[in-house]
Symmetry: C2
């Protein structure tokens, strides 16, 4: 019988780790990339295609889903998995980040965040307790603690106060999660480390989270405009502050080279809208770096997007065709490039897992960067 | 060895017929509905899904493709089939209809139509000879003669003159097609009957076409706003003016009840953007009539779109989910409802073929109308 939540590191190579999370709805091979399914759909992809390209888990957004179709309605309809026809694990965020970035007229207090919906102006209150309740109503497998995520460039005092608030909310999230007994018995709760770019605050945050105790730990508050160098600077110390035997999740990251650098620094899980959003805009990721399919130089290019890629798009369509679909604003263009991008991300994760298992991650990272980051490709 | 073009009527029931077209790229069971792939994509569908729901042939648009990516470029890229990853038959229209409805600043002469592209204002000339050349460059399996299609409500004299012009163009189309020897040896050419709602003009047109000789014959100039009753009025006599041993194609039609009424009157082939366009707008066809998924009454409806439908959308998704996707403007909403609509159309054709084979078409049509056209469903 599969446990509620198990994580085992199967191999390490430097600080990089590969392992496996076991949950009732399925296993998650780590390092893992989670495609984002914001409003109960991984945009432009059927769920069976998301699975076919190798995703073990996807992400859903509490903020969006609480507004439409609504958490209580989702529960009534049988939960998010049934609603969107995805039977494997789903991680839901807490709504904390998006309520601050997307909603109107928000008011932050010790209690939580009061805000108006960006859809219809309706008034809502999000608290740690309500966030836990919503994620329970959605039927989430991995629930994220409710936190606040300030901009990394705010004054230290502000970052510290925000972090302390997030840690009090982490405690309330733990209690709120545990009170949902039946759901708590088959799902997991992750805490989120804050502290922006300040090592001391990151340490305090980590200790408080460990004191509360979570199934996994996220490094939050990054990928908010600080740049890759600053992010890697934090990742040089932050993951090691978190328990070795629990998965570490870097939220909202990132570009393929971000993922390689973060895995190198001990991260196990990622999510990002980049492959899906880029896919809709005609930007494709390849082993030789990103390319923009709208560029006229692809109009007669009969090559596949990437001749090393194993996806259906690369097997059956030319760059010229994908260029044509992008120029024509065709939905199939979004579908095919999204599928390629997500497949590329999954292939990247699979190769990283293989390289770590083989003790060759440093060489893999070197080779990857040589191809992916070479300065000019015209 | 499969011939260039064969058509056999396998059963008749009243004026309704069922049969099979055999071409080098595959068979086409008739009556057939051809999904429209305007700019080298059946919108929001991967080609393997178009095939999986039962389509034997799709339609491509000469007007759109000559402008983007361009006919010569398409030939250079290996033709339309390879470009869009569809290896079965493709019928291309002649561009005649769309050059008149979509282009800017068109000038009609005996020679052809001069016009400016709706995309970039560039100047082009479309003639019967150039239309044949473009369809050859695209690699079309069924080529349509170049014609002019006036509004059905124009004065009789204008309709007559236009029809006579189209018949002279039909002759030039035949000659132009035959001059493309290698392509002519593996593709087919269809003529298009004109004459709007005038029985005498339809008769003259039919005789002139038969005199030239074509592989199949289209009933053109309908579905241009004349209404179902007027259309059926023409279909009461027009198909029988055309050779019994050749397929009869009603262009641009139509709603499910149009298809049933037209098959009843001896039509073998159809194309229409309705199932794909409606799919993107949240209108779904069901055996109980069309429904609009944007309607709030579907917000908590856990039923499938149609419980008699065999498509993937109906097997896995609720009306509530499809409603949610439509309200959220999600691409997957367009994908799932398009797939259902095209599958519904193919199931309708399959049932009609079965009913004709069984000699029960009248009963089928009665049952269909009782469910599909019942006056009020809330």
């Amino acid at each position: 019988m599969v446990q509620r939540f198990e994580f085992a590191v199967e191999a390490t190579d430097g600080r990089a780790r590969t392992g496996r999370i076991r949950m009732m709805r399925g296993d998650i091979a780590t390092p893992a990339f989670m495609p984002v399914g914001t409003v109960a759909t991984v945009k432009a992809m059927k769920p069976e295609a998301v699975r076919a390209i190798g995703a073990d888990i996807i992400l859903g957004n509490t903020y969006h889903l609480m507004l439409r179709p609504g958490a209580e309605r989702m529960a009534k309809l049988g939960g998010l998995h049934k609603f969107m026809n995805w039977q494997r694990p789903i991680l839901t965020d807490s709504g904390g980040y998006q309520v601050m970035s997307l909603s109107d007229l928000r008011k932050l207090s010790e209690e939580g965040v009061e805000f108006r919906s960006h859809l219809d102006g309706s008034k809502h209150m999000l608290t740690p307790e309500r966030s836990m309740e919503i994620q329970r109503l959605l039927g989430s497998d991995i629930v994220m603690a409710f936190d606040e995520c300030p901009r990394a460039d705010r004054p230290r005092e502000e970052i510290a106060e925000s972090m302390e608030l997030s840690m009090r909310w982490a405690r309330r999230s733990r209690d709120g999660f545990d009170s949902g007994e039946e759901h708590a018995s088959r799902s997991a709760l992750f805490g989120i480390q804050q502290g922006a770019l300040d090592q001391e605050l990151r340490q305090i945050s980590a200790e408080k989270l460990i004191d509360i105790g979570f199934d996994g730990y996220a490094v939050g508050g990054l990928a908010v405009g600080e740049g890759q160098e600053a992010m890697f600077g934090v990742l040089d110390y932050a993951p090691e502050m978190l328990p070795k035997d629990r998965p570490r999740y870097l939220m909202g990251v990132g570009k393929p080279d971000d993922l390689v650098g973060a895995v190198e620094r001990g991260i196990d899980m990622f999510d990002c809208v980049l492959p899906t959003r880029s896919g809709r805009n005609g930007q494709a990721f390849t082993w030789n770096g990103p390319i923009n399919l709208r560029n006229a130089r692809f109009a007669e290019d009969t090559d596949p997007l990437d001749d090393r890629c194993e996806c259906d798009t690369c097997a059956h369509y030319s760059r010229a065709y994908l260029h044509h679909l992008q120029k024509s604003g065709e939905i199939l263009g979004a579908m095919l490039v999204t599928e390629h991008n997500l497949a590329f991300y999954q292939q990247l994760m699979r190769k990283m897992r293989g390289a770590i298992s083989a003790g060759q991650f440093a060489q893999f990272a070197l080779d990857f960067r040589q191809d992916y980051l070479r300065p000019s490709r015209g």
